[in-house]
Amino acid sequence: MIMSCQLWKPVLFDFARGVRSPEIDEALSHVRECTDCSLMLDQQQQLTELLRSAAEPNQEINKVPENLIAAFRANQIPKSSRSVSWIRAAIFVMVMLGGWMWYRTHHFEIPKTTSAHHDDGEFIPLQYAENPSNSFQVVRVQLGSSDLQQLGFPAAPEWENRSVKADIVVGEDGLPHAIRFVTAEIQR
């Protein structure tokens, strides 16, 4: 086949299927001069005829299978149920949001000191005191052994003349709620 045969081939294939392209007249004039393309067109037209007779008509179906009807019904959610679902979802979101806000306002978080030098120690909650509610302050103090005893630490004779630097969380009620030791004990 020469180049022009390749060019006309798609047009002739479509023509054999009954689809007329705008270039069909030129393609057919080529076919009249080219035995290869003439043979090819003839074979393709025979193939079209055979394919058309091979295409079976679709059967008429009058009944939808029961299982499909059941699946269809099961998949339908009534509109009233849909709005109930939306209301439930909205309530759920509101409850979650409320819970989170309550947690944010009531949950005791250990405050972080602004001093970069002393943020390695952890606050020890003082057991007798309740968690501070909304606001609190961190106060740095120097405590002697008697002060420590008042805060609930056991008395030790070797601590008689010593003191320690600590951060104390003081709540709104003016009571200490947690303590963090900042330095090692120092001699008074």
Binding site: F13, Q43, Q44, L47, L68
Partner: protein, 199 residues
């Protein structure tokens, strides 16, 4: 006035069971035929068709009218199901094709080929095509979809469908030609043997 597929689909999504029934009655047979032409045995085509409509029930919202028609959407689902089925049953299909061969060999070679036999031969030739050629032949020739609708179902460009179809037709034409030449040779040989025997 008959409702369009798109109108039926909208009604179906609103819970109209009759609309779903209409779509099923319109296209269930096409889906079964598509599956059978692709090589799924008749016993399993009903399952494929039911799978397609189950998918339609559950995923009707995925239909986008801007991307194609309802029929292309259904053929697209069917195509996926069929290709999966063919992959899952490739072993069984091999043994089936052996049976077909045995049936073919048992046929009388002197018998004149009827239209029905030519069609059977065509179906076998179609089954012998690679899947991407087979599906376009079936969609465009046997199911008479336009290039555009076939392209939507297959998920490729219109030009790709057209060129695949032309290539597939070339292969089919050549195979049918070769087969008829082989058969003619066998027939001529058998006839000459009979004639020699009768002398």
């Amino acid at each position: 006035m008959t409702a369009t597929d798109e109108q039926l689909l909208v009604r179906m999504q609103d819970g109209d069971e009759d609309a779903f029934g209409c779509i099923y009655k319109r296209y269930a047979s096409s889906m079964k035929n598509f599956a059978r032409y692709m090589g799924v045995p008749s016993g399993s085509t009903e399952d494929i068709a039911q799978d397609v409509f189950l998918a339609l029930i559950h995923h009707a919202s995925r239909f986008d009218p801007e991307r194609g028609s309802v029929i292309s959407f259904l053929y697209g689902i069917a195509r996926n199901r069929i290709l999966r089925w063919l992959r899952d049953h490739s072993r069984e299909l091999l043994s089936l094709s052996d049976q077909d061969q045995a049936e073919l060999q048992s046929q009388n070679p002197l018998m004149h080929y009827t239209k029905e036999q030519q069609i059977n031969r065509l179906h076998r030739a179609i089954l012998g095509l690679p899947e991407h050629y087979r599906e376009v032949v079936i969609l465009c020739e046997l199911q008479e979809l336009s290039y555009e609708k076939a392209a939507e179902a297959v998920g490729c460009a219109v030009g790709t469908v057209r060129s695949r179809l032309h290539r597939a037709r070339e292969i089919l034409s050549r195979r049918l030609q070769n087969a008829s030449e082989d058969e003619k040779e066998v027939n001529d040989y058998e006839l000459s043997t009979l004639e020699t025997g009768s002398l």
